[in-house]
């Protein structure tokens, strides 16, 4: 029996005068990988932030591991879900290592002092993200791709149960997109964990996600397994543009006419 990490019931969400969802029902089981697809301005980022508890919903319930979102303290919640933001990190310069180490915050004791295990965890994730040797670099001097991989390393260091990712492939070259998504999938699409990511690239979503949430932008949505949902009809409906699908080397490719 798989555990439901996230359960969403009858969620209504709007931003300004735009209805993002009216009655969204959804649950995410451990071990699964969800992708959110939708046209520009459909509210994918806002939905992600709402699920993370960072933006208020109009009505409905969000539960993590059966417990309501607002019953969690911020620190508890940070142990349960982590977020990869799309906006660029700005402000004060710190080193890459310090920034990645910040991911340990929800696990620190009352004094907020990192243990050797915390340091090792950060160092390991920096290595996995291919950033070894850049530990003492000032974050402001990193390239866009390096910064994105640093953010991924920070999320891996945080080790939440559910990872909510907004465009994890941003700023990455095509090769790195695959490497980083594989890294995320290996860590989060596993027992006790799951991931939910907003993606622009439908091919990547179909390749990596076993479930999809198609968000139309007017309150309509489709949710279910990728196998069932990734059809030319659904994607044409979603993007209001004719789409055809092709199989190349076992991967599905999209062709927008």
């Amino acid at each position: 029996m798989k555990r439901k990490l996230l359960q969403v019931d009858d969620l209504a969400l709007s931003i300004g005068n735009t209805r993002i969802t009216k009655h969204l029902d959804l649950y995410i089981e451990e071990g699964s990988c969800w992708g959110i697809l939708g046209p520009n301005g459909a509210g994918k980022t806002t939905l992600l932030h709402t699920l993370a508890g960072l933006y208020p919903a109009d009505s409905g319930h969000i539960r993590y591991a059966g417990k309501k979102l607002d019953a969690y303290s911020p620190k508890e919640l940070a142990g349960v879900r982590g977020v990869l933001f799309q906006t660029e990190l700005s402000g004060f310069p710190g080193t890459l290592f310090e920034t990645v180490l910040a991911g340990r915050h929800p696990h620190l004791g009352i004094l907020g002092w990192e243990t050797p295990e915390d340091l090792q965890q950060a160092a390991r994730m920096i290595r996995l993200a291919g950033l070894e040797g850049l530990e003492s670099r000032n974050t402001q001097t990193l390239s866009g791709g390096e910064r994105q991989r640093m953010e991924i390393a920070t999320l891996l260091t945080q080790q939440p149960h559910l990872a909510l990712l907004d465009e994890p492939s941003n700023h990455l070259d095509p090769g790195q997109q695959i490497v980083m998504l594989q890294l995320l999938q290996k860590h989060f699409a596993s027992a006790g964990h799951a991931l939910l990511m907003v993606l622009h690239d439908c091919s990547l979503a179909i390749r990596f996600c076993d479930h999809l949430l198609l968000l139309k932008g007017d309150g309509q949505y489709l949710a279910g397994s990728t196998q069932k949902l990734a059809t030319p009809e659904n994607l044409s409906w979603l993007y209001q543009h004719p789409v055809s699908l092709q199989q190349v080397d076992g991967n599905t490719c999209l062709h927008f006419q």
Binding site: H49, A52, L54, S73, P74, K75, E76, L77, A78, G79, G82, V83, F85, T87, L89, S90, G91, F92, P93, G94, T95, F97, E98, T99, L101, A102, G103, H105, P106, L108, G112, E114, P116, L119, Q120, A122, A123, E135, Q140, Q158
Partner: protein, 330 residues
Amino acid sequence: MPRHPLRKSLSLLFLLILFAIGSLGVSLMTGSVSIPAAQLWQLLWHDDGSVQYRIIHELRLPRTLSAFGVGGVLALAGVLMQALLRNPLADPYILGVSGGAAVAVLGAMLLGLPLAWHAPMAFVGALASILLLFALAQQGNWNTSRLLLTGVVLAAGWSALISFILSLSPPMQLPGMLFWLMGDLGDALTPSLPLAVLLIGLVISLWLSPALNLALLGSQRAAALGVEIRRLHIYIYILASLLTAAAVSIAGAIGFIGLIAPHMLRLLAGSDHRILVPGAVLIGAGLLVLADTAARTLIAPMQLPVGVLTALFGVPVFLLLLHKSYGERT
């Protein structure tokens, strides 16, 4: 095995403690009667009935310790405002918070309110100014130049109000008011107040340090990592206002310590608040002690307001910082 990033900063903290103690020594030894180090040590602990003993204990020690406390308090207020606004150019003086406090204190003086009212009035003025700044600068997409402009305009507004109050004041009070406005420690002879405020502020800020570190990453990221960001902001508003109010009600509007001290520390040890908070306090305290020593000895027997000296030193540093931060963005 990775080393803790703060390990190497501990020796720096030790050096800064030496610097702060050294500044206290220099200040106590220097003045119209200079007292050598060996004699100073004796005089600190043993009353030999000499004039020197009375100079040390009745004049120099209270004033030096007041400067130490006020300098530390200003540096701490600077660190907190910089974390709140995520901008290394934030400082209670530049952004008009000291101005707001000064207007409230001058208003209290003009209305003839008793001395005990000055500090609470300064707190109200500082808090009003900081909230006004945040409300004005946060509308829409705000950035460095918008924030600074808002702060500078607020400061200009407060300074107009100050001129207004001064022009209504009786001529007898004017020189004292002006000297106080420029930042002066001549009357600051009760060091227990600034030192107590500094100690309390330091303990709270150290406790907040891990959250302050995350706040630098931005409100959203900090919230996602488990910081109660709204509560943190409220703590900072109140604490920064209290610190600024304490400094202003004791020593007037002394500028730039809150800017220079944290900046020097960032250059030396990065922006981790667990080192930044105590380190900036030590640098700020030491710098103001040295500046005040210079203020009372440079053109002795006349005294300069110490705020003039910190501004002369601080303006070029501020311009350098501004130049650097714009250079990085373009």
